[in-house]
Amino acid sequence: MLNFVVRRLLAILPVLLAVSLLTFLIASLLPGDLALVILGDQATPENVAALRRDMGLDQPLWWRYLSWLGHVLQGDLGRSFRTGQTVLQAVAERIPVSLQLMLMAEFIGLLIGVPVAIVCAARAGGAFDRFMTGSAFAMLSMPSFLVAILLIYLFAVELHWLPATGYVPFTEEPLNNLRFFVLPALTLALAEWPGIMRVLRSDMIATLQEDYIALAKAKGLKPARILFVHALKPSSLTLVTVTGIDIGRLLGGTLIVESIFALPGIGRLLVGAIYTRDLVILQGVVLLVACGFVIVNFIVDMLYAVLDPRIRHGHA
């Protein structure tokens, strides 16, 4: 098992390096001169040239990459030239919001998707299965801004149950904080559960055809035990993959949902950085989010091994 972890860890190093290179290139190859952006269009060419020299922009690309990477490895991702905040500060401020949103959305998504998938698979082709598969299709084809608006209309405008927009930190008003998060998390969850449900349903249906399920029935086990113990675990590898991808995606914040519900998360930080051409923030945030994605997928790989002993023992 330790060997397995070490092998996987070594495998993600080149991925992280590639991620850093791509992030750097995206920010560096964007049209527009950073010095010009900072100084504005009134700047004299001499001023621009001086700032370029100061910032090292006159150096060759590979040299700039290596020096940037060197700083990154020391934990210095740069500083916004607009607010003076470091990238790490800006991200640290925003990440709790996106993290909480991601966790709540994923939790609700799994809470809906997993039980529905199990019931559907147990009675595949039945009325409930057909209805839920159809509903999942319908939900998949609804864009999140539409779902968000519908939820706001229903729960905030008509029923007055939940606030439409806003945010207070959990540490200040835990209950209110949760109330602010329900609608955005639900919006995301309604987009997540169809995927969760569909992959788990089809894997479960395949698993239920297996010999060992027939044997579990022949052993006289209770139907619930067959479904939850014998069938669910071997069927959940794809589910874990999909959940991992979802989490990785939500980790980077959700531009639309954070904007609609006025949540100060990573998504809003990114949008702001793009509007103000704050390339240092943009580059730093993209790098951190991409690293987060890689790490989540590393955890997914570890979960495979937890779920399937054959992977753990290097048989598969």
Partner: protein, 330 residues
């Protein structure tokens, strides 16, 4: 005489296929007394596995089953799923063909054994664990205590089949159905597994159905043999009587198809030519007639019923049982 433990009465199984209904089991009658062994023999697709699944009530969802399966006076076909569940694993156990696929790959061997025991017997966890260790030892697994924490992929095929047998035996079943228990195993392991089954059967006085395509497997082990072809029982006899004098040409052909050690190298096997009939299109006559070297025109026109031979308990479905056919030929 006391009632038999298991009676299969007029059981038929049909499976819907895109090409029409497939008659997998075609009105079969069989019975088995407590403690006895019945061998069901036939080539692939003859319906022997479907018949065993019909007994266990584990047929595919779309299959239709008619007839009665009486087990200790209860008709399993009409039993509620809850009563059936209590019966399965406890009185009625099964060992499947392929031990590589019949054990759950993500659960430990201990879990798979103990869950069966705790489902049916009122034992607490330590007692169930102790019983599991005894069972594994009884089926010849070395270091049984360590095995409990292992997963199926850490065991060899023969070992896994022993574990599957331990699971089947765990609640002292009255009937064990062994569906080709040795087909997926190495030849050297096959005899060991069959001997293990026979030994445990004697010790526990349970009835057993051995399903196989190999007449050699049932030869010394079954009390009675039923030969199936195209969903029907075509010959049924006490084992000794059958091997002494088989009447059905199909049985003879099955026996001839087993390679023998004494034949010279490169002797072609007298394989049965042709293929079994398409089970979605019922034949008018004897289903073996198209492949039978003794067949005459009558065999293609009418279906022979099961008739009694001179030996008591010996039934066959043939218009020209072998002895007579040879007589005509001579």
């Amino acid at each position: 005489m006391s009632n038999p433990l298991l009676t299969i009465e007029d059981v038929a199984v049909e499976l819907p296929t895109p090409r029409g209904n497939l008659r997998a089991v075609d009105h079969v009658d069989l019975s088995l007394d407590a403690g006895r062994t019945l061998g069901i023999v036939g080539e692939s697709g003859c319906g022997k596995t479907m018949l065993s699944r019909a007994v266990l009530q584990l047929l595919p969802k779309k299959a239709t089953l008619t007839g009665r399966v009486m087990f200790e006076g209860q008709d399993l076909v009409r039993l509620s799923s809850e009563s059936l569940r209590r019966l399965r694993g406890r009185d009625l156990a099964v060992v499947f063909q392929d031990p590589m696929t019949s054990l759950n790959p993500v659960l430990t061997i201990g879990t798979q054994l103990i869950e069966t025991i705790q489902e049916h017997l009122e034992l607490d966890a330590p007692a169930a664990r102790k019983r599991s260790i005894e069972l594994l030892a009884a089926v010849g697994i070395p270091a049984p205590e360590q095995r409990l924490a292992q997963y199926p992929h850490q065991c060899s095929g023969g070992m896994r089949q022993r574990i599957a047998i331990a699971i089947a035996l765990s609640c002292e079943p009255k009937l064990l159905i062994a569906d080709e228990p040795t087909t997926a195993l190495d030849v050297t392991i096959q005899a060991q597994i069959l001997d293990l089954l026979a030994r445990e059967q004697r010790r526990r006085h349970m009835a057993m159905i051995i399903i196989t395509h190999d007449l050699g497997v049932v030869a010394g082990r079954a009390d009675e043999v039923a030969v199936m072809y195209a969903g029907r029982v075509v010959e049924r006899a006490p084992t000794r009587a059958l091997f002494k004098r088989m009447h059905m040409p199909y049985t003879e052909a099955l026996l001839a198809a087993i390679p023998k050690l004494e034949t010279a190298p490169h002797t072609p096997l007298p394989a049965i030519s042709g293929r079994p009939p398409d089970p979605t299109r019922p034949l008018k006559g004897c289903s073996f007639a198209p492949r039978c070297r003794y067949a005459v025109s009558r065999c293609h026109e009418a279906k022979p019923g099961l008739t009694s031979a001179e030996m008591p308990g010996h039934l066959y479905a043939c218009f020209h049982p072998i002895r007579m056919a040879e007589g005509i030929g001579a």
